[in-house]
Each structure stands twice: as structure tokens, then as C-alpha cells.
């Protein structure tokens, strides 16, 4: 019976949606993103080496190098050299 319980748990885990995008700053300095989420724009500063969860339900982001990007939530963005890569 324990097995069934665990299997259900595992399934629910696998089925659980990714609820936020993650941004990781690999640069040695803090980087700032402009995030448009809901009805306002805000700046999100990520310290060197930090990783931040944001944007639970889709948003637009302006990267440090001026690129714009649309996120649906669940992506991982890596900032290195001011440019961002999305995985």
C-alpha cells in the first residue's frame, strides 16, 4: 500500500507544473532585468552568482543587453557577459 501511495506522490510530483522562471547570474557583477509582469514594469536586480525565481505566470523581460524576451514561466535564464541564454 505504501508503494501505491509513493507512486501517486511521484506522479503528482511529475505532473506538477513548473510555476516560475529562474534567472541565474553567472557574471561577477550585479545585473538588472526589466520585468513586465501583470500591469506594471519593475526592475529585478540579481547579485553576482545569485539565482532568483520570478514570473510565475508569464512575463516579458528586457535583458541587460537590450534584448527583449517573453517567458511563459518554467524557463531558466542564464546571464553571462550581460547576454542571456534561455534553457
Amino acid at each position: 500500500m505504501k508503494k501505491v501511495l509513493l507512486a501517486v506522490m511521484a506522479l503528482s510530483l511529475a505532473a506538477g507544473p513548473a510555476l516560475a522562471a529562474t534567472v541565474v547570474n553567472r557574471d561577477a557583477e550585479a545585473r538588472t532585468l526589466i520585468v513586465t509582469e501583470g500591469s506594471d514594469k519593475s526592475e529585478l536586480t540579481i547579485g553576482a552568482g545569485e539565482s532568483v525565481d520570478f514570473c510565475p505566470g508569464g512575463c516579458f523581460v528586457t535583458m541587460p543587453n537590450g534584448d527583449r524576451e517573453a517567458l511563459t514561466g518554467g524557463e531558466t535564464i542564464e546571464i553571462s557577459g550581460g547576454a542571456a541564454k534561455i534553457r
Partner: protein, 852 residues
């Protein structure tokens, strides 16, 4: 040379050519974004016009949400192309700075082209972004408008007069005629043009409902109907019957109605106004059916034994009809209001109708509050508990009063809440009651699920009990998670707010600098459980399949299994912690700061832990060994990392900390093998034949089946004792754990052999001489003196002691007579130089008497 350069530039331009034209992705997505922008414009215009209609606002909101999603998706579509461009730009590198050698023109051209495309993409993305921003602002505006509408509706007051009511009555007749006309014309239209489609729609809807009913009955089976013969059903079975008999028919009706609407809509049978009316009436019908089923099963009018609330028969019937009437009245108000809005009826009619119906609802609630559903100890009818009565009365009075004062909107709101929130609360309380009944000890085993788990998986009672607890928690959680938002929605909260709130709780609540995420924690726990399960499975597989087949020693097997188990648990813990989103580096900082204190505090535990690891690695003993540690002796039952369980031969379990087993000498009777020696010392009488005795003892040992043949038993003549010749038999046993049985058998056999061969086992003897005997003799009577003389002055006796000083019968008589006591006991208390002292004791009192 110049010609060559020109040619090169031409080729480069040709190659870069396509980049100057619009990029395919831009060509593809630009119209999409344009169309979405136009749609949003149209919706914004509609919003301006239809500010006052809540239902239209909901429709606009839903469409806007869709547009927002579409905009986001349109923007995401650029990502692959943009990544491609970025990668290519990276390959091309930065343009040469001043002083650096110039690059090829083709490269410059390509870079420029790529940058142009990228800029265009960024522009389009910016447009999508702005539009999304606008959509979200419109959505917020709608939320605000709806909130205002709701507040206005509740607080608006109408001037009432009775002329208005009369006017309402005539208008009502006109409106009914109009409704009849509309429905009739639609019906004619259906009959003439859409008969086949509507029949098909009806058939599909019926089929969907039938599938649900038949399937549901197969699953739930007999649990749906109360058994009239059973006069004492358990609470849990009453609850499950109530649950099943409410849920299944309501779900079937809801499915039928939902499917009918869907297929009518799908086949274009519906017209706008009829569609609206149908949605409203279907909603109301489904709700009323649900309430009726709930009231019927909870109050069980005909079978009092199956009632969930212990009310009397009469009040149960009254309550059932009142609840049903309340639901019907409030439902009628709801449907008629929709009719009013569809037909654009005059306000007077709307108000008059709601006035009558809400007052009716309020009065019915007051009537419910006046019922006397229970009875006291003496059997007299008793009212509801005070709080329930007060609540019902207050709700009813507020509804009636607000209608009378002209707050029709508020009265309608109250009437609706009484029915819908009341039904939700009743359902939730049945859920909570079920949860607590399921979690009771032993209750889950009697449920359908429990019985199935038992028959199919062979689940034990304790497992079922734990499952019952889990099921109880799950039901409670479900009731809160499903019922809470539904009630909040009824009370004017908006779905977006609830969703945002739930998301916030799930994804992270900021407390200081720490973010607590419920979802993260749940994920962590789930991952930990999964990893632990995998570890256990691996452990079992390794132990049962690999090690057992490899004929590995039991001790090594145990060690490996334990080590794998601990390592797996640690890894599972780490994975769980990181899955929960807890940063381990923060933890390391805290651990570093506290490690000194923890080190001191947990000194013993750590020492035991390390000792446990040493025990696992060194294996001085294994499970099943018979060990002696200090004063503790017994069989090792379990070696864990902190302590070892030892079971003594009296079946007492002793938990011995591992450090004790490492720091002191531990004897192990069964370390390498179970061979061990027992010794049987024995003494025989002086005068026995020592060689014969040895032979007899050896024979007794050899006859013992547990004795080892090699090394064979030996007998030693160990010494000349005080009263015996001493021998010792030494026998090796193949299994030392059998020593008690072996000793017993050998001793019995020796005794038998000695007896058969006339070998005596002596008991200790000693000779005692005592001079005081002469005085006693002089005082004794003549025949006694003569007897003593015949025996001689010396008495040999088994227990040397002060028996010689024991007073004779004469003494006693003399003593007791002289003290004129009827009976007494005389005891000797000492004497010297011919004087002997006695004590005469009578009934606890005593007197001295010295005699010469």
C-alpha cells in the same frame, strides 16, 4: 584588383540579401500581433460601453485573458530565431576597433543585417509587451468595476410603495406572455429546422449522463442505497451512503445539463437570448437537485436510522420541505432576474418580484430556526443549539428587513447565499464528519476502499489505520481547498484574486529574508519520500538478490545493508532539502557556527555513532551472536548506528550504547564458530575407584549427542577435597548455545551411572566437640544420663552449632513454673564458668532467669 573587390562585395551582398528582406518569422508573427492588438482595441471599446453588466464584464475579462496568453505565445515564437541570430553574432564577433585590422565587408554586412532583424524583432516584442501591459491593466479595471458593481448592488436602495407591487403584478403577466412567445418561437424554430440536431444533442447528453450513472453504480454499488433492514448502521456507512447518494445523481444531472448545453450550442440550436436563459436555468436546476439530494440523504425522512443529524421524524420532514422550498424560491428569483434582463423588463417588475421572493426565503429561514428538531432527556422537543438558532434567525430577519427597507440587491444576495453557501457549508461539514469518522481507529478497514486494500494487497490492520488517517487528512484538505474558494467566489471575491493568493502561498511567502514556499516544501517531502523508497528498494534488492546469492556472511550482509540504508537516507535527505529550495550553503554557515556547541552537546551521541560505524566495519559480533559485555549477557538482535539491541535469556531487551561495546572487553561465545566448552565438576566419596569414576564420566559425556567428537571429552582428577575426591569433566559442544541442555543431560547420565556402580557422592561432614555437655548431663534425669553414657560424651551431628546449649525439658519446666506462667518458651542466651542464662519468653514478653 579593384574588379576583384567589386565582385566580392557583390557576392557578399547577394549572400546577405535575404537578411535585408523581412525575416520569415517576422512575416509570420507580425499579422498575428496586429490582429491581437485590434482585438484588444475592440474589447477595450466594448468595456467602455458595457461597464454596468457584470456578466458582460466576465465575458470581456475571459476574452482579454485569452488575448493576453496569445500575445505572450506570439512573442515566445520569436525565441528560436533570436537565439539563432545571437549565436551567429557571437560567431562573427565584435566589429574591429580603431587601429585593429579591418574585417571583410561581407562580415560587416552580415552583422548589420542580423542586427537589423534583431532590432525589428525587439520592436515587435516591445509592441507585444506594451499590449500585454494594456491587457493586464484592462483586466484590473474590470476587477475594480465588478467590485464596484457588487458593492453598488448591495448598497442600492429602492423606494418601495404598494402601488409598485400592483404594477409589478400586471407587468409580470405581460412578461410571462413575452417569455412564452420567445420560447415558443424558438421551439417552433427547433422543430422545423433543428429537430434532428436537437434530438442528437439530447441523445448525446443522455448518453453522457448514463455512462456516469452506470459507471458510478458499478464503482459505488450497494453503498448508494440505505439498507432499510439495518437499524443500526455505523456513522461511517451513513456518511458514505449520504455522500454517494448525493454526489452520483447530482453529478449525473449536472453532466446531462452541461452536455445538453454543449451539444445544443455545438449544433447551433441556441439563439443568444435562449442560450442565456438556458445556462441560468441549468445552473439553478443543478443546484436545486444537489440541495434536494443532500437534504434527502442527510435527513433520511423515511429511514430514521440512516439520518446524519439526529432529528425527530416530524421536524426532519418539515426541515426537508423547508430547505427544498427555500432552494426553489431562491432559484426562481435567480431565473426570473435573468428573464428580466434578457427581456429588458421594467425595473418595477424586477424589484417587485425580488421583493416577494426574498421575503419568502427570509421567512422560510425564520421558520427553520423556529423548528424543534431535537428532544431532551425527558423526551420533550428541544430547539436548535443556541448559536445555530441565533444564526438562522439573524440571517432570516436580515433578509426580510433589508427587502422591506428597499435594499433589494442585498436581500437577493442574502437569499442566494442562504441557498448556495448553505449547501456548500452542509457539504463541507459532511466531508469533515466523514474525515473524522474515517480517521477513527479501525474505521477505515470497514470502508469499501479498506476492504479492497485488504483483499487485494493484503494490507494489515495497522497499515489500514494509517491509511485511514491519511484519507481523513486528504478529505479535510480537499474540502478546504475545494469549498473555501467556492464560498469566497460566492461572497464577491474574484477568481483572479483567489488564484493570485493561492499562487503566492504555494510559490513563496517572504518572511524577512527567507522565502517559505509551500510547494517547495511539499516537493521536498515528496522527493525525500521517493528517494527513501528507492533506497529501501535498492537495499532490499542488494541484500535479497545479490548478497544472499553470493553466500556472503550474515554479518557482512547486515553491515552492507545498514551502510547502504544510512547512506541512502542521507542522500535522500540532501536531495529533499535542495528540492525544497533550501540553500544548503546557508545551512552550512549555521552548522559552522553551532558546530562547537553541538559538538559538546552531542558528544555522547557522536561517540556512539562513530562506535557504531566501527562496529559495522570491524564486526566483532553480528546479529544472532551470544555476547557478554560487562554484566550483560545475551543474543545480539540488532546493530544500529547509535546502539545495539541485546536480548537476554530472560527475554529482556537491553539497548547498549555502541561506545560501551567499543570501550570495554566484549566476550563473544559465537564469534567465528559455535564450538565451546562446558565443565562439570563433581566430587566422589573417599574410597571410590578413581579410574572407574573417570570411565563412567567419560561414557556419560560421549553419550551426549551435542558433545563434539573432536576435541573429545576429557576428565581430570583435580584434587583431594575436604570430604571428596574431586573430578572435572570437560566437554566441547558443537553449539555452545545448547549448553544448558547438554549440561543437564550429562549430569543426569553421570548420576545414573554412579548410582548403578555404587559410587557415592558425599556431603561435607565435620566433627564438633563441646565441653559444656557435662553440665547438662548432671542436671538431667538418670535414664538420660545412662543413655548419654552409653553413647559416650561425644555427639556427632550434621549441623554443628549451639545445640548443646539448648535447654532441656527440665530446664523449661523449671523456668516456666518458677515464673508461674502457664506456657512459655525457654531460650539459651549464653553462659560462662558454670553459669548458664536462659530467657523465658511468653507471648512476646520475656524475663531473665539465670540458673546454675
Amino acid at each position: 584588383m579593384i574588379r576583384f573587390a567589386r565582385l566580392f562585395v557583390l557576392i557578399a551582398l547577394l549572400l546577405a540579401g535575404p537578411a535585408f528582406a523581412a525575416d520569415p518569422i517576422i512575416e509570420q508573427q507580425q499579422p498575428v500581433i496586429d490582429r491581437l492588438v485590434r482585438d484588444v482595441d475592440a474589447l477595450a471599446a466594448r468595456l467602455d460601453k458595457e461597464k454596468g453588466d457584470d456578466i458582460k464584464l466576465v465575458d470581456i475579462r475571459n476574452q482579454l485573458e485569452e488575448k493576453g496568453k496569445a500575445l505572450l505565445n506570439a512573442a515566445v515564437a520569436f525565441r528560436p530565431r533570436r537565439d539563432e541570430i545571437n549565436a551567429r553574432l557571437d560567431q562573427l564577433g565584435n566589429p574591429p576597433k580603431e587601429g585593429e585590422p579591418a574585417e571583410a565587408e561581407a562580415v560587416t554586412a552580415e552583422r548589420a543585417a542580423l542586427k537589423a532583424v534583431k532590432a525589428e524583432i525587439n520592436t515587435l516584442l516591445g509592441r507585444a509587451e506594451d499590449e500585454t501591459l494594456r491587457v493586464n491593466r484592462l483586466l484590473e479595471q474590470i476587477s475594480e468595476l465588478r467590485r464596484q458593481l457588487f458593492a453598488n448592488q448591495l448598497s442600492k436602495r429602492y423606494d418601495l410603495n404598494f402601488a409598485l407591487l400592483g404594477e409589478g403584478a400586471s407587468e409580470f403577466r405581460a412578461e410571462m406572455a413575452e417569455l412564452w412567445r420567445i420560447v415558443g418561437s424558438w421551439w417552433n424554430f427547433v422543430l422545423k429546422f433543428k429537430l434532428r440536431a436537437s434530438l442528437l444533442a439530447g441523445f448525446f447528453a443522455l448518453a453522457a449522463a448514463a455512462v456516469l450513472v452506470i459507471g458510478g453504480r458499478r464503482v459505488v454499488g450497494e453503498a448508494m442505497r440505505p439498507d432499510p433492514v439495518n437499524l443500526e448502521p455505523t456513522y461511517l456507512s451513513r456518511l458514505s451512503v449520504a455522500f454517494a447518494s448525493t454526489l452520483l445523481p447530482s453529478a449525473a444531472v449536472a453532466t446531462f445539463l452541461g452536455a445538453s448545453y454543449f451539444f445544443f450550442d455545438y449544433f447551433n440550436v441556441l439563439r443568444g437570448d435562449i442560450g442565456e436563459l438556458m445556462v441560468t436555468s441549468f445552473n439553478v436546476i443543478a443546484t436545486i437537485v444537489f440541495i434536494e439530494r443532500l437534504a434527502r440523504s442527510a435527513l433520511s425522512v423515511h429511514l430514521p436510522a440512516w439520518r446524519l443529524i439526529p432529528v425527530e421524524n416530524g421536524p426532519a420532514r418539515a426541515l426537508y420541505w423547508l430547505v427544498l422550498a427555500t432552494a426553489l424560491t431562491a432559484g426562481a428569483d435567480f431565473i426570473l432576474s435573468r428573464v428580466n434582463s434578457v427581456l429588458g423588463s421594467p425595473l418595477t417588475l424586477t424589484i417587485a418580484k425580488s421583493f416577494v421572493l426574498t421575503i419568502a426565503v427570509g421567512l422560510m429561514v425564520i421558520a427553520i430556526s423556529r423548528l424543534k428538531p431535537f428532544h431532551d432527556e425527558a423526551g420533550r422537543p428541544r430547539r436548535w443549539p443556541n448559536w445555530a438558532q441565533a444564526l438562522l434567525l439573524a440571517v432570516g430577519v436580515v433578509t426580510v428587513l433589508s427587502a422591506l427597507l428597499g435594499y433589494i440587491g442585498f436581500a437577493r444576495f442574502m437569499a442566494r447565499q442562504i441557498v448556495v453557501t448553505g449547501a456548500l457549508v452542509a457539504t463541507m461539514s459532511i466531508g469533515f464528519l466523514t474525515a473524522s469518522a474515517v480517521s477513527e481507529e479501525g474505521a477505515f478497514a470497514h470502508t469499501l476502499l479498506g476492504r479492497r486494500a485488504k483483499s487485494r494487497f493484503g494490507a494489515e490492520d495497522t497499515t489500514l489505520d494509517q491509511l485511514g488517517l491519511v484519507a481523513g487528512i486528504a478529505i479535510n484538505l480537499f474540502m478546504v481547498l475545494a469549498g473555501g474558494p467556492l464560498i469566497l467566489l460566492q461572497w464577491g471575491f474574484q477568481w483572479g484574486d483567489i488564484r493570485a493568493f493561492a499562487l503566492k502561498i504555494l510559490t513563496g511567502v517572504q518572511v524577512g529574508s527567507v522565502t517559505i514556499s509551500l510547494l517547495g516544501i511539499l516537493t521536498g517531502v515528496a522527493v525525500f519520500a521517493l528517494a527513501l523508497f528507492l533506497t529501501r528498494w535498492f537495499q532490499r534488492w542488494l541484500d535479497g538478490q545479490v548478497l544472499a546469492r553470493g553466500k556472503v556472511d550474515a554479518g557482512v550482509r547486515n553491515s552492507i545493508r545498514l551502510a547502504v540504508g544510512y547512506a541512502g537516507t542521507a542522500v535522500a535527505g540532501l536531495i529533499g532539502v535542495s528540492a525544497a529550495g533550501i540553500d544548503l550553503s546557508n545551512l552550512a554557515l549555521v552548522a559552522g557556527a553551532l558546530s562547537l556547541g553541538i559538538g559538546f552537546g552531542l558528544q555522547n551521541i557522536v561517540s556512539n555513532f562513530v562506535s557504531g560505524l566501527i562496529l559495522l566495519a570491524e564486526r566483532p559480533f553480528k546479529v544472532g551472536d551470544w555476547i557478554v559485555a560487562g554484566t550483560i549477557q545475551g543474543t545480539v538482535k540488532r546493530i544500529s548506528v547509535r546502539a545495539t539491541e541485546i536480548e537476554t535469556f530472560q527475554r529482556q531487551t537491553i539497548i547498549l550504547p555502541n561506545s560501551d561495546l567499543i570501550n570495554q572487553a566484549v566476550g563473544n561465545w559465537t564469534h567465528k564458530n559455535k564450538l565451546g566448552r562446558i565443565d562439570v565438576p563433581i566430587g566422589v566419596a573417599y574410597g571410590s575407584d578413581a579410574v572407574k569414576v573417570q570411565e563412567l564420566m567419560l561414557a556419560a559425556a560421549r553419550a551426549e549427542p551435542r558433545a563434539a567428537k573432536s576435541p573429545e571429552p576429557v576428565v581430570f582428577f583435580t584434587g583431594f577435597g575436604a570430604s571428596s575426591l574431586d573430578f572435572e569433566l570437560r566437554v566441547f559442544l558443537t553449539d555452545i548455545t545448547d549448553q544448558i541442555a547438554a549440561l543437564n543431560g550429562i549430569r543426569l547420565r553421570i548420576l545414573e551411572a554412579f548410582r548403578a556402580n555404587g559410587v557415592k557422592i558425599p556431603f561435607p561432614q565435620s566433627e564438633v566437640h563441646y565441653p559444656a555437655a557435662s553440665r547438662t548431663r548432671r542436671r538431667s534425669s538418670r535414664p538420660a544420663r545412662q543413655r548419654n553414657r552409653r553413647r559416650g560424651e561425644t555427639r556427632r551431628q550434621q549441623n554443628p552449632g549451639p545445640a548443646a546449649e539448648k535447654p532441656t525439658l527440665t530446664h523449661e519446666k523449671t523456668c516456666c513454673r518458677s515464673f508461674s506462667w502457664r506456657s512459655g518458651r525457654l531460650s539459651y542466651i549464653g553462659g560462662d564458668k558454670g553459669t548458664e542464662r536462659f530467657r523465658c519468653v511468653h507471648r512476646g514478653r520475656w524475663k531473665h532467669r539465670s540458673s546454675r
